[in-house]
């Protein structure tokens, strides 16, 4: 379980996260929704160690991970897929996937090969294109690749930042379905950040609504989805 208490992260004088407390339950999908600039990405970036918080605590599996480097947080079982289909365009598809399991190569040699095959089963399109440079992929394929890169590190918690960004509705559905299946079948814990609140709440178990760096609602997803006044006030539809 991931437990966040009073987390505050600021950039100079701008406070991006202002005393955020929330949890992500094991083997569940928790979604963080909110408008642009609500602090959603900063929340994920602080969890994965890319930003350091000025106050508060992040506890993962009973131990504090504040102050750990990103490369050690991956080793602790938290994989982060940052915003914008973050793959390395100049590397091939296969190299992008293998990059995610480099740190396990010595200790889990056979498992590393197996995890590459698993990704190809999960996203057959990637296998067809495995020798191509990642920069030549479509947006949807790039997102699949970014997720694969994260999954081969064998995470227990997957942080997904706006996987739907800039993708066609059909592709979004495919990716969200896939994440849902992964969570339900393997017990992966997912923390999903989305601006597309409807899609996210449709698949999530629990929803957290952020506005200007603060938590304004923290409820079961279905309840949050049904609350039209919150929706109108914070999401604008």
């Amino acid at each position: 379980m991931l437990k966040i208490e009073n987390l505050t992260t600021s950039f100079g004088s701008v406070i991006a996260l202002d005393g955020v407390s929330m949890t992500a339950q094991e083997s569940k999908i928790t979604t963080v929704i909110g408008a642009n600039g609500a602090g959603k990405s900063t929340l994920l970036r602080t969890i994965s160690g890319l930003e350091s918080p000025s106050a508060g605590s992040i506890t993962w599996d009973g131990r504090s991970i504040v102050g750990l480097k990103p490369e050690d947080i991956v080793r602790a079982g938290i994989a982060h897929v940052p915003e914008g289909h973050a793959v390395i365009s100049e590397l091939s598809v296969e190299e992008n996937i293998n990059m995610g399991s480099l740190f396990r190569r010595r200790s889990h040699k056979s498992d590393v090969a197996a995890s590459l095959d698993e990704m190809y089963q999960l996203f057959p399109r990637l296998q067809e294109r495995r020798k191509q440079l990642a920069g030549t992929l479509s947006g949807g394929e790039r997102q699949m690749l970014a997720i694969s890169r994260a999954l081969v590190s064998r995470p227990k918690l997957l942080l997904l930042d706006e996987p739907s960004l800039g993708l066609a509705p059909l592709v979004v559905e495919q990716i969200i379905d896939c994440v849902n299946t992964l969570c339900r079948s393997t017990g992966l814990t997912v923390l999903l950040v989305e601006q597309n609140a409807n899609t996210a709440l449709g698949v999530a178990d629990h929803g957290v609504l952020l506005a200007l760096g603060k938590v304004v609602a923290d409820r079961p997803a279905a309840e949050l989805k049904a609350d039209s006044s919150l929706r109108a006030a914070y999401l604008g539809y």
Partner: protein, 303 residues
């Protein structure tokens, strides 16, 4: 015809060395984001170490391998002791603009160059000394006539080609090579993938240090050794790297050979005084036609 062959051979042999220098620059530029002006200072230092060992009765090869190792160690040390603390965000907050942060390591590398040259002057005295070649520097004799090609040239070209092949295999086929390329291309994604980027960055400094030490060992038999002899080699190697594309290791190698051949043909057919103006012309033409170098990438990064 003889002049042509002589120019071709000597250009290829010189070009091979410039290719090494350019490769060293490109590896640190891509791996650590620094144009390392101290590179040939490091090479000079390790060549002096080899020279001292050889003068004290050790074999050429002992000096050779110790110098390569010393070059790698010095590169790694500079990264850990100087570059890493300088890139620490918290400490450089005073100079918080992005361009200043990029400029600081470059200025530091100039400082390192000065320190290394002064130290070499103090330890080994600032006068020129010779440095041995492991193979004959007289031209081959074929059917009674002396060819413009020496065994040392053969040695230089083959050892550089072996090094370039090994480097390519290392970067393309090994996990550490992949980690280094990933770090060079996108540090954030690399870290999120679990790659220890501090380590890969130090490793680029070490590999670059070894490559440029090799260049130092190969060029000093024809140019002699003093604290400043390799300055010119750095300038030519830097030109080669820019001509080939500062982002591209293959481009660096290509640039090295191009610049080597240009220098050699100008020396043989025009005069040695025209060498610099002709390199400058090549550099200008390439920068006008392909601003990012012959094999440089399409998107601009950092520049």
């Amino acid at each position: 015809m003889d002049t042509f062959l002589a120019a071709l051979f000597s250009g290829t042999s010189r070009g091979a060395i410039y290719a090494l220098v350019a490769l060293g620059l490109v590896i640190v530029w891509r791996g650590a984001g620094v144009v390392n002006f101290a590179q040939m200072g490091q090479a000079m230092f390790s060549t002096y170490i080899a020279s001292t060992l050889i003068q004290n009765g050790n074999s050429y090869w002992v000096g050779f391998f110790v110098a390569l190792f010393a070059g790698a160690a010095l590169g790694a040390l500079l990264d850990v002791l100087v570059m890493r603390p300088l890139s620490n965000k918290k400490k450089t907050e005073l100079l918080s603009s992005e361009s200043m942060r990029a400029a600081i390591p470059v200025i530091a590398s100039l400082g390192i160059l000065g320190v290394l040259q002064a130290l070499a002057g103090i330890i080994w005295a600032a006068e020129e000394r010779g440095f041995p070649a492991p193979a004959a520097q007289e031209g081959f004799t074929v059917a009674g006539s002396v060819m413009p090609f020496t065994s040392f040239d053969v040695f230089v070209i083959s050892i550089v080609l072996i090094t370039l092949t090994m480097t390519t295999i290392f970067f393309k086929k090994t996990g550490v090579g992949l980690a280094m390329r990933a770090t060079a291309l996108n540090q954030e994604v690399a870290r999120l993938s679990g790659i220890r980027t501090n380590f890969t960055r130090t490793l680029s400094w070490a590999i670059s240090g070894a490559a440029s030490s090799l260049a130092g060992l190969l060029i000093t038999p024809t140019s002699n050794l003093s604290p400043n002899t390799l300055d010119l080699v750095l300038i030519i190697g830097f030109t080669a790297a820019v001509v080939g594309g500062l982002d591209s290791p293959a481009g660096a190698v290509l640039g090295g050979f191009i610049v080597g051949l240009v220098i050699s043909f100008v020396t043989f057919y025009l005069s040695p005084e025209d060498v610099f103006i002709s390199i400058l012309a090549v550099l200008l033409i390439v920068l006008i036609v392909k601003p990012r170098g012959i094999l440089g990438g399409k998107d601009s990064r950092r520049v």
